[in-house]
Amino acid sequence: MERKRDVRRKIVALAACAAAAGVMFGGCSKKPAGSAAAPAAGGPRFAKGTPSEAIVRASAGAGKVGNWGLGNEYEILALLSKYGQDQKFLSQAFDMDGFDDGSIWLASAMTYNELGLVKNSYEGGYKYGDTVGTIDMNDEGVAMLEDNIFCNSAFAKANPNTVKAFLSASMKGWKYACENPDEAAQIVYKYGSSVSSQHQSYMAGEVKKLVQTDTKGQTVTNYGNMDTAAMQQTLDLAKKYVKLSDSAAASKLSSLTLDSIMDASYLADASAGKIGKPEKTSVSIQLKWLPQAQFMGYYVALDKGYYKDAGLTVKIVPGGGDISETTAVYSGQVDFGVTWVSNLIAANAGGMSLLEIAQVYQRSGLVLVYKYAE
């Protein structure tokens, strides 16, 4: 590791041309440090049992808390504020190299994705195993709800049966996926995957927990349920930590209520089987990210023919990069979308009229991960 750092320093010191040459060769042969036998050193380590407040204070004080930004940062801001820290974080890349090399002490990770990469030893993993600890947003009381299903409120009004049929089939897909996570992972993998099949299986297992457990740790059996208390907490935190420069949007944000962002009636009718003939039979859903088990319910519903049984032809549109699912739905490119509730709130404050029709994830999947002392 020290050697690697030396090389890095030398490269930096060289002129741009030489540095770029280093990039080309270094870039090709660069392997994750996690592929070494022992976890790489870097950054401080915290003794097991250290209270999360002490870890947050130490890391934030040193300016070493990481998050991806782009609307994923509000829970972190809320946590920093809870412990009286500055609202600052480092922009974290989509890999966990910053955590591994110690430039980020307290890194953001989704339980189903980045945390798996940190802990696990399959290809691409950093092999930390049980030598890392996490701070859970749910335990800290700053949880904001994530993956939901939404559409334009005008679309829902014009196509209520389509919405109900879509929800009914999707929830059937989620139920099957949660009962058979390994099979669901393989189905997702079949439909084009950004990550390995082992990682998909890990992800399916973790996503199942988020879909079946609420922020308080209670089991949820009615899939897609919109827990009013958790939704309200999400809205309250969003009002506090979503900072909008546009004064019109900012004042709209402060006036938003749960009724202006969600409607539970479609899901209620769908679960009761009160579904008429779909008005629009060919629909599409925009995912928030690349095809992965995070969205296994939809892929299972498609693969098992649940959508077809409901009289729908469904196209799943993967996201990724800077695809904005709220804009895609708003502009009518797609009919449904999966986003985080905070993103939907920000979009409605900006002038969209989006409506959440189901809340698939019942608790926050965001944790902050840190290294344990030996």
């Binding site: 750092r5 890095r8 320093r9 490269i11 930096v12 002129a15 741009a16 041309c17 540095a19 770029a20 040459a21 280093g22 990039v23 080309m24 270094g26 870039g27 300016g63 930004g69 782009l70 609307g71 480092l90 922009s91 890349a93 190299d97 910053g98 090399d101 430039s103 979503v242 909008l244 420069s245 546009d246 004064s247 019109a248 949007a249 800077d322 904005s324 709220t326 804009t327 708003y330 502009s331 993103n343 920000a346 979009a347 900006g350 002038g351 969209m352």
Partner: protein, 268 residues
Amino acid sequence: MKKIHITNDSVKTVLYPLVFGIILVVLWQTQVLHRLLGADTFTLPLPSRIGSIIADNFGVIMLNVKATVFVALSGLLLGSLFGFILAAIAALSPHWGMGGLTIATAFNAVPIVAVAPIFTNLTKDFSSDPNVRSMFAKTLVVMITCTVSMGINAYRGFTELKPFSLDLMKSYAAGKWTAFFKLRLPNCVPYIFTALRISVPGCVISAMVSEYFAEYIVGVGRQIRESIVLAQYSTAWAYIVVACLVGVGMYVILLFFEHLLLKGRRIK
């Protein structure tokens, strides 16, 4: 007579684009443009709204502008200097220099989006302050884009001499260095500005793209990205307008200096 003619011409060159610009803004504000493009005021906010956002957030916007301009200018300066030196070496000893110039050109083909995150990773040990090391990483990215245009153009300036001028220098028994300073260097000056006319808009663009991948969140480009992902189109447009103003402003300053220094010696 001649003087008046030139003034007329310059009035035209300023007036026509200005009138066109004003008409565009009027069409935009009155939403005629929206009807033509099939856009709504959400994805294409009105100029008045964009203006009010810029006014409301002037301090924060200037903070981001400063960060972007600093990176763009320092990258431009270092890159151009490096490119110029490469070109000079190439002109003086083609043996060594041409190879270096060719390699530099090859690096220009590497897209900024590929280079930027790599530099962010490579410069992590540069400073313990994330703002400083991010600035450094971004500057390196800008530097690469500016090196090449200056290298190639300055090399042309050093070597594309008037016919027989080099022979003339030789007939004067001028040495390699005298020929360089008396002939090649003066010949190169207009080419330097040709390079800068490519590099100045380029450095602003690469500075903004490299902000996407930087560890420290600051800059006009980063704000555009954040705002669009959060569906805050009015704010995004405010930063887009500011980005345009920065780019145009820097270009105008360049043209001013070019006019001042070259007085019509500009190469076509």
